[in-house]
């Protein structure tokens, strides 16, 4: 969604990050019940989700606050490299 906003809608990078976060709320709310109700057993582990949220809400706050202390470029390269490795693993050895 962020590349779409930046490249097609010409929204600046910082605004695109914030806008995509707001837009994901209705998307996740709409898709969640399908994973929960469509099959006989819910395809959601609510307990695991609860404990993930406890960490992620605090982590998102810490990450946003730490933004000005962490160099952006090496971080992006690092995360892109990690995503590439995990993506290749998922693609080749699912």
């Amino acid at each position: 969604m962020i590349p779409l906003l930046v490249l097609w809608a010409h929204v600046d990078q910082r605004k695109a990050n914030a806008t995509s976060l707001v837009a994901i709320i209705p998307i996740a709310i709409a898709a969640f019940p399908i994973y929960y109700f469509t099959k006989g057993t819910p395809q959601v582990d609510l307990r695991l989700a609860l404990f993930l949220v406890i960490g992620s809400v605090f982590g998102a706050y810490v990450g946003a606050r730490a933004l000005k202390f962490v160099p952006d470029r090496p971080l992006r390269y690092g995360v892109a490299g990690l995503m590439l490795l995990v993506g290749l693993k998922q693609l080749l050895f699912p």
Partner: protein, 131 residues
């Protein structure tokens, strides 16, 4: 509370920090974390990730809205179109075999990695001096 719950909190913290730092969506971190770290199936990882994203995005999105850093028109269009796409995708995903779903997710992750790499390179390229 079990050690698995503690591991989930630490994993969530890691995903949240990355989300706050580089602005990547929770799903790109939550889903591989759940399949590789917690051994859940691909479809359960995706469903659980959605459940975890809702409160995280509400907290982050509300903060951004208060700071007036959101393009509201774009958010409405993206959110509206995204709902249609996400419902269609989810209806398909729950019936797709795990390995196929994992491969599709892997391909999307590689695409995201390439886009992020290009953005990092673009950010590091010095602008030409015009005067």
């Amino acid at each position: 509370m079990t050690w698995l719950d503690v591991a989930a909190i630490v994993g969530g913290l890691f995903a949240g920090v990355l989300s706050g730092l580089v602005g990547i969506g929770g799903g790109q971190v939550f889903v591989p974390l759940l399949t590789l770290g917690f051994g859940t199936s691909q479809v359960v990882a995706q469903g659980t990730s959605l459940a975890a994203i809702v409160p995280t995005a509400i907290v982050g999105g509300y903060t951004h809205l208060r700071q007036r850093s959101v393009d509201r028109t774009a958010a409405v269009w993206c959110g509206g179109a995204g709902v249609v796409g996400a419902v269609t995708g989810a209806l398909v995903a729950v019936h797709v075999a795990g390995p196929v779903l994992a491969r599709i997710f892997g391909a999307l992750l590689i695409l995201s990695a390439v886009l992020m790499w290009r953005r990092a390179r673009a950010a590091s390229t010095p602008k030409p001096v015009t005067d």
